[in-house]
């Protein structure tokens, strides 16, 4: 997956778990939590969707790596390079 693919994947997952998600003006370097008003239960859903769709196991201590769109891409790029 390219970096852009991963970005799309994350946005697709968020759109899937949240019918109200609004991506206009989203800053890739700012926390998703604040910009999209996500809570910890929503974050768990992102992790679980990644597991379901791409067999990725993300340990709880690494959840902070998913804070911003860019940090998601950086963290997931090596894990998804062969997918």
């Amino acid at each position: 997956m390219t970096r852009d693919d991963i970005k799309d994947l994350i946005l697709d997952i968020i759109a899937d778990i949240d019918e109200d998600a609004e991506f206009a003006g989203l800053d890739s370097d700012k926390p998703l939590r604040d910009q999209l008003d996500l809570d910890s239960m929503d974050f768990l859903d992102i992790v679980m969707e990644l597991r379901k769709r791409h067999k990725l196991q993300i340990p709880e201590e690494e959840y902070p790596e998913l804070a911003t769109l860019n940090s998601c891409v950086n963290y997931l790029e090596p894990k998804l390079k062969d997918q």
């Binding site: 109200d20 008003d37 859903d45 379901k52």
Partner: protein, 460 residues
């Protein structure tokens, strides 16, 4: 390999919500339910062509679409159900009625504030302090039991107002007698006074169907008429469930929604079971009247919480039932509900399980008739003659509740001791539901969601 990754005992609201979470993320999941319908305490049945709902007076925790952090909306997101497509009807207003003073409240806290100011002018500022304290308090962070009564007494200078506020909060979800845990008080205050009452546009049957379809849509399996006779265990792990028909189903993880005493009995867990047995049970009377009959009753509110004594005695009565305090609910009184042909009156009073339990069939029938007469004598003084032209009537006792809901001793709010983390002495056996400290329909479902999130999804 086990037959299922997860087996859930009970297709009540916490069981269904748990099942949806697990199945949504690919766990091979089976729910076993002893009855032929889902819902547990909040189910339905048919009599004489009427669809009658059990348990539900109103749902609590009302939230508008878009209020992302409200429990109701978080719950819908977690279950991947569309909140936008879920039509709701808010309450009209409700009443707390004591002998000399009454307080109205609605889903707008300002009404209760104004009522407090009018009836208890000296409590205006203290009540606002209480509201601020409730908003700041996090009831979900682990904390030892703390007396809500002591907390209120220090804040509110009028014991009558304290009792009036406690009546609805206790009767809609307190498993302890007399007092309640402060965290529980905060949860209930938010659920009833801040967020408020509503009902779904459809029936409880529609609501349950939506949940079952969601669960099955994610690949979850559900078996009705499958009573669990026992749980097989090995050391500190459970291995599977033995069904009453003799079949054995193995599982990696077992989630029980049948309460602490019920779970302990199934596993042979040498818990100190009696201390987990709730004392608070109720009798309920349902009367169905022609819609026109509503006009002759004092039936303008959605729910009336009444107490005919000066102080609130929230405890198991020493007699079969006590009509001195209770709840009168008019399930048709929600905003913009379509016109119905019939109008229901549902009345709930505290009852003593042990007295009903030891009655022989003849005595049981006599107690039932007596209970109805005592409820009528008290409630007709408040709302008028609700038996005139009645087309249907039914009543439930603590035994009915125990039989249909697996709640030990008919204790609708479960154990007075809450096991909030859902843990048991067995590493792969967890509990969800009323005994985890969440109450009401929204609370029971959030309990299922939370326990599956914390104990199963995050660990697997």
């Amino acid at each position: 390999m086990a037959d299922y990754q997860l087996v859930i005992i009970g297709a009540g609201l916490s069981g269904l919500a748990s099942g949806i979470r697990a199945a949504r993320f690919g766990l091979k999941t089976l729910i076993v339910e002893q009855h032929s319908l889902p819902g547990g305490l909040n189910s339905y049945y048919y009599r004489h062509g009427f669809l009658l709902e059990t348990g539900l007076h109103a749902m609590t925790n009302f939230a508008e679409v878009g209020d992302r952090h409200a429990p109701l909306n978080r719950l819908f997101r977690q279950l991947k159900l569309s909140r936008k497509k879920f039509a709701t009807h808010q309450q009209l207003s409700s009443l707390i009625r004591f002998p000399e003073v009454s307080l109205r409240f609605s889903n707008d806290l300002a009404l209760l504030e104004a009522e407090v100011e009018q009836q208890f002018p000296h409590c205006r500022a203290p009540f606002q302090k209480l509201v601020a304290a409730v908003r700041e308090y996090d009831p979900f962070s682990p904390a030892p039991w703390r007396s809500a009564r002591r907390f209120l007494a220090a804040l509110i200078p009028d014991p009558l107002l304290v009792d009036m506020l406690l009546l609805p909060l206790m009767v809609y979800g307190n498993s302890e007698e007399h007092d309640m845990d402060l965290g529980q008080f905060v949860i209930m205050f938010q659920a009833l006074f801040v967020e408020g009452f509503f009902r779904p546009h459809g029936t409880m049957k529609d609501f349950l169907t939506m949940l079952v379809e969601q669960y099955k849509g994610f690949g979850g399996e559900l078996r009705y008429r499958s009573k669990v006779a026992g749980v097989r265990r090995q050391g500190d792990r459970v291995e599977g469930v033995e069904l009453a028909g003799g079949e054995y189903v193995s599982c990696d993880t077992l989630l029980s929604t049948v309460g602490a005493p019920g779970t302990a009995a199934l596993v042979g867990w040498p818990a100190d079971a009696p201390k987990y047995e709730g004392q608070m049970s109720f009798v309920e009377s349902i009367s169905v009247l022609p819609a026109a009959q509503r006009a002759v009753l004092a039936a303008d509110h959605t729910i009336i919480f009444y107490n005919s004594q000066q102080t609130l005695s929230y405890k198991r009565p020493p007699i079969a039932m006590n009509p001195d305090w209770g709840v009168i609910c008019f399930p048709e009184n929600f905003q913009d509900l379509p016109e119905q042909d019939f109008f229901q009156v549902r009345i709930t009073n505290p009852a003593n399980y042990a007295i009903w339990k030891q009655a022989d069939p003849k005595e049981y029938q006599r107690l039932k008739a007596d209970s109805e007469a005592r409820t009528f004598a008290r409630v007709s003084e408040i709302i008028g003659n609700y038996q005139q032209n009645r087309v249907y009537h039914d009543s439930f006792t603590p035994l009915t509740i125990e039989r249909y809901t697996a709640k030990a001793q008919g204790a609708v709010y479960g154990s007075p001791i809450k096991i909030k983390d859902g843990l048991t002495p067995y590493r792969n056996l967890f509990m969800a539901g009323t005994d985890q400290g969440f109450l009401g329909i929204v609370g029971a479902m959030l309990s299922g969601v939370t326990i599956v999130n914390q104990r199963i999804l995050m660990r697997s």
